[in-house]
């Protein structure tokens, strides 16, 4: 976890494997969009997007090999993003509710 020394050097093999997985997922999300899964369609699309983003974060952006402080900063940022999205949507969904 420590970045002491010259820093962790990731093998190019890992980069190429991640690159291939990202390309496959891109094809998969296009394919899934043409199928009718009803309400699951956007959920599948977002699950694939989140998976791809996580792979980029962990490997291309070296979060997996970075100090824990970096993961903490990202985690807190995503927490605030979730407040923005979840509370805003909760307001819009529930505003028309009447007792």
């Amino acid at each position: 976890m420590s970045s002491a020394g010259t820093g962790h050097i990731v093998s190019p093999k890992i980069y190429i494997v991640i690159w291939l997985i990202l390309l496959v997922f891109t094809g998969l999300t296009v394919f899934a969009a043409f199928q009718n899964f009803g309400i699951l369609n956007p959920i599948i699309a977002l699950t694939i997007a989140v998976t791809k983003a996580t792979l980029v974060f962990l490997f291309f952006m070296h979060v997996k090999y970075s100090p824990k402080m970096i993961a903490l900063v990202i985690g807190s940022g995503l927490f605030f993003l979730s407040i923005l999205l979840v509370l805003t949507c909760a307001d819009y969904i529930s505003r028309s509710w009447t007792t």
């Binding site: 420590s2 970045s3 002491a4 020394g5 010259t6 820093g7 050097i9 990731v10 190019p12 980069y15 190429i16 991640i18 690159w19 990202l22 390309l23 891109t26 999300t29 296009v30 969009a33 043409f34 199928q35 009718n36 899964f37 369609n41 956007p42 699309a45 977002l46 694939i48 997007a49 791809k52 983003a53 980029v56 974060f57 490997f59 291309f60 952006m61 970075s66 100090p67 402080m69 970096i70 900063v73 990202i74 807190s76 940022g77 995503l78 605030f80 993003l81 923005l84 999205l85 805003t88 949507c89 819009y92 969904i93």
Partner: protein, 241 residues
Amino acid sequence: MSDSHVSTLPAARHHHDPALLEQFDTIEQQKDVSQLGMWVFLITEIMFFGGLFAAYLIYRNLYNPAFVFASKSIAISYGAINTAVLICSSLTMAMAVHSAALGARKLLILFLVATLALGGVFLGIKAVEYHDKYVEHHIPGPNFDFNYERAENHEEVAPADVAAQTSIFFALYFAMTGMHALHMIIGVGILLVLIWRAHHGAYPPHHYTMVENFGLYWHFVDIIWIFLFPLLYLVSRSPVH
């Protein structure tokens, strides 16, 4: 960040590295701090795009039929090819950072140039897409007309109210892809500087933080597109919805 360099202060001061700024004990500490700063900047970027994503989410729920119509009118091939182009550019960027770490200057320049070229391809395809939107009268404003020549082209004509609402989708489409493209243009500009400086040997293997932090920025811009692609191009492509 790291606790291993607490006792190394006198040693680090003795053989002074010109790249080491005086407020840091070691080059590793300097690099950790610099990367932390870069991540904090990227968090502000996530929050910035987060606002656009929140607006998208709300309007997609309010005007779902319009979003389905509008999303279907965008050519899926451009978006899919651009996604692949950006993923490839992320690979070349990661390889550029890797080359810098190994001190392979020629490879570093090669991969930076490849990243620049792929970024250029992305922006070129984006420009073609924007031109298509212009020709189709799909740019929000006085000339906006979602159904313009759709009947002539044997495309499904949207009901008048839905057609008017599609301008909300296109406003978000241009705001989000435009902001993303602006980040790409800034990235291309910084890449030109990096290539120039790398050519002059500015990034030795013990001090290439600038390349590494730019890599973080480039991958971040890729991540934004990874979300924009399904949200804008793939709202609903199935024949029945």
